[in-house]
């Protein structure tokens, strides 16, 4: 019979990440104990899911959709612009700790491609100019 205790692990990871922005190392032992798992197993689960991170993110998370519908509407150029503008590669955080740039593979906004998401805010039909405006607004400029 499966261990139902372990079934609370993903919700617990989401709660931690919501609180800290990432899963801190010091939480792993507690998680393992609380869910009746080995620490290595917990680390394995965290590593499997793209959402969970083990290092602090930037103050904001900018996700750019790189999937097909958005590609058909110019997402590659938008992605390139974001990377140049922010001065970071995808997956990295700007030097000032403001923005973490990430790729997304469909945000369910394909009828308003290209799409980006700044934290939990979805934006559609995003031109290069709109992206700059969204980022400026996010920085409180």
């Amino acid at each position: 019979m499966s261990n139902t205790n372990q079934a609370d692990l993903l919700p617990a990871l989401h709660r931690l990440q919501e609180k800290f922005g990432y899963i801190p190392d010091h939480a792993i032992a507690d998680l393992a104990k609380a869910h009746n798992m080995a620490q290595a197993e917990v680390v394995g689960v965290i590593g499997f899911y793209h959402d969970f991170r083990r290092t602090p993110p930037g103050r904001q998370r900018l996700r750019i959709c790189r999937a097909e519908s958005c590609q058909a509407m110019g997402a590659d150029a938008l992605a390139m612009h974001a990377s140049t503008q922010l001065g970071v590669e995808f997956g990295a955080t700007t030097a000032d700790g403001e923005v973490t740039l990430e790729a997304a593979y469909c945000l369910g906004n394909c009828a308003c491609s290209p799409a980006v998401m700044l934290d939990d805010d979805l934006h559609g039909r995003v031109s290069v100019e709109r992206l700059d405006a969204i980022l400026a607004e996010g920085r409180g400029v």
Partner: protein, 520 residues
């Protein structure tokens, strides 16, 4: 009675400004001393017109869109509360051809009602299916779904009645209904729309499934990319519980059904049903070998129905109107309707629910209006990232599971993504391999290693391309290995977009143009 104005709360509509438009309308009405009631509805699915604002006049809804905040004062000036003429005026919503020509069964309430008003839901036919089901024997519920010919809308098209019967006949004890709301396929958004725009419909469908198979507990596995759908569902579950629809005594019947929301964590492969179950159990989302089928040994080892959002949301209509009425729509062995999703480079992207059997060309041009860029449509990907690319010569294919399978393509979850002639199909093939490499669960070699090898091969073909010296033997062999040796459709179908791109657009790969029409 105060006049009602409908402003969608749908995430896509909000992504293009519906929230700001809503605030502007409120302010403008206040400044003008006008009393209006703003209703936050779902989206009608006419996304090129979003934010689409509807003004109710004598019970009829008049559409204006796409409305930007700066258009609002002018709309008041033009007398839109009396249906005044304006450049953004589209007349009565229901008469807009894009909407009028659809057959909205599953999406009948979409954009019409306030998603969180149970009163609205009931007034528009909601709960009729559940009420019927509560008076029926379990076998009869399954028979109705079977008669309707409903097949899984998540991708594989497996007959829902057969799946339910297996779970119904499985040993007693704890059983589960799991709704697959991972909607990972690019080019698709019908699950999101339904959850945000008509959440009670999904809840009703899940309860009916529970009654049919003898399950008293359900889970909705929702992708984390959909925070708005999460909020709406959470709210709807609270309301449904308070109103005695969910809980220990479903509509006073003495039957129990509890519903849990579960958040995914950004893994495409967790849309695969066994990976999804592993994920709910708190594990890495490794795909399980089948057998055992989830229907017999699913969640926590118990008999489990795993169905897509649209599959489950189609059930209340079938129960309310009967299997025969549903079956009356469709073509061949593809019965009923499918909410197609038009996306990519199209003038009029949106949600189009029609009976199976319509051609791709009708959807792309009659509904979609051709490309947004005005250039010729060169390629269309149907059925998500694992679906084949289809060239113009295939546009007259009827949308039907069997007709698509016959040419090595898939209808899948009904996503249709159009590309104009600026597309580089070798790059799209590379992307398909890259996506598989990023999202592979890692359990089997053809998928895990094959996809990485595929990216390398395509990179070298892309680099050599100007000299036209490429040979596709290695790439085709690799695709064959993935097709034959993968445990699930992630590795097993990634070759579809790659091979179809090779077959139909060899010139993009630096191969000599094909001599004859390829076989797939």
């Amino acid at each position: 009675m105060t006049q009602r104005i409908f402003v969608p709360r749908d995430a896509s509509a909000v992504s293009v400004g519906a929230e700001r438009v809503c605030r502007t309308i409120e302010n403008e009405a206040r400044n003008r001393g006008l009393e209006v009631e703003i209703v936050r509805n779902g989206s009608r699915g006419l996304y090129w017109l979003e934010p689409l604002i509807e003004v109710e006049i004598d019970g009829q809804r008049i559409a204006y869109g796409p409305v930007a905040p700066e258009d609002v004062p002018g709309l008041f000036e033009a007398g839109w509360l009396r249906g005044g003429a304006h450049a953004l005026f589209h007349g009565p919503s229901e008469e807009i051809p894009y909407l009028k020509r659809q057959t909205r069964l599953t999406f009948a309430r979409m954009g019409v009602t306030d998603p969180l008003s149970l009163e609205d839901y009931r007034a528009h036919g909601g709960l009729k299916g559940l009420e019927r089901a509560l008076d029926m024997k379990a076998e009869d519920i399954v028979d109705a779904v079977d008669t309707g010919g409903l097949r899984g809308r998540g991708g594989a098209g497996f007959p829902t009645g057969i799946k339910w019967r297996t779970v119904m006949n499985a040993d007693g004890g704890q059983k589960y209904i799991v709704c697959n709301a991972d909607e990972g396929d690019s080019g698709t958004f019908s699950d999101r729309m339904l959850m945000e725009g008509d959440p009670f419909c999904l809840i009703e469908g899940m309860i009916i499934a529970g009654l049919a198979v003898g399950a008293d507990t359900g889970y909705i596995y929702l992708r984390s990319e959909y925070p708005d759908a999460w909020d709406v569902l959470e709210d709807a579950i609270v309301t449904a519980t308070r109103e005695g629809i969910l809980g220990a005594n479903v509509l006073g019947s003495g039957r129990r059904f509890e519903l849990n929301l579960f958040k995914g964590a950004g893994a495409y492969v967790c849309g695969e049903e066994t990976s999804l179950l592993e994920s709910i159990e708190g594990k890495r989302g490794l795909v399980r070998a089948k057998p055992p089928l989830p229907a017999l040994e699913g969640l926590f080892g118990r008999p489990t129905v795993v169905n897509n959002v649209i599959t489950l949301a189609s059930v209340p209509w079938i129960l309310a109107h009967g299997g025969e009425a549903y079956k009356a729509h469709g073509s061949g062995r593809s019965r009923g309707t499918l909410p197609f999703q038009l996306a990519g480079n199209l003038k009029r992207p949106g949600l189009v629910e029609v009976a199976f059997g319509m051609t791709l060309r009708e959807l792309l041009y009659d509904f979609g209006g051709g490309s947004a860029s005005g250039r010729p449509i060169r390629a269309v990907q149907v059925g998500g990232p694992l679906g084949a690319y289809l060239p113009e010569s295939r546009f007259d294919l009827p949308l039907d599971y069997e007709a698509f399978a016959a040419v090595g393509a898939t209808v899948g979850h009904g996503g249709i993504v159009a590309f104009d002639d600026s597309v580089d199909m070798a790059k799209m093939a590379r992307y398909a391999m890259e996506f598989c490499a990023i999202e592979s669960c890692g359990k089997c070699t053809p998928c895990r290693i094959g996809s990485v090898r595929g990216v390398e091969l395509l990179d070298s073909m892309l680099a050599a391309r100007p000299q036209r010296s490429n040979d596709d033997t290695l790439l085709r062999d690799l695709c064959q290995t993935m097709l034959e040796g993968s445990l699930c459709a992630m590795g097993g179908m990634t070759p579809y977009p790659v091979l179809s791109a090779l077959d139909h657009y060899p010139e993009d790969f630096g191969l000599s143009p094909k001599q004859e029409e390829a076989s797939t």
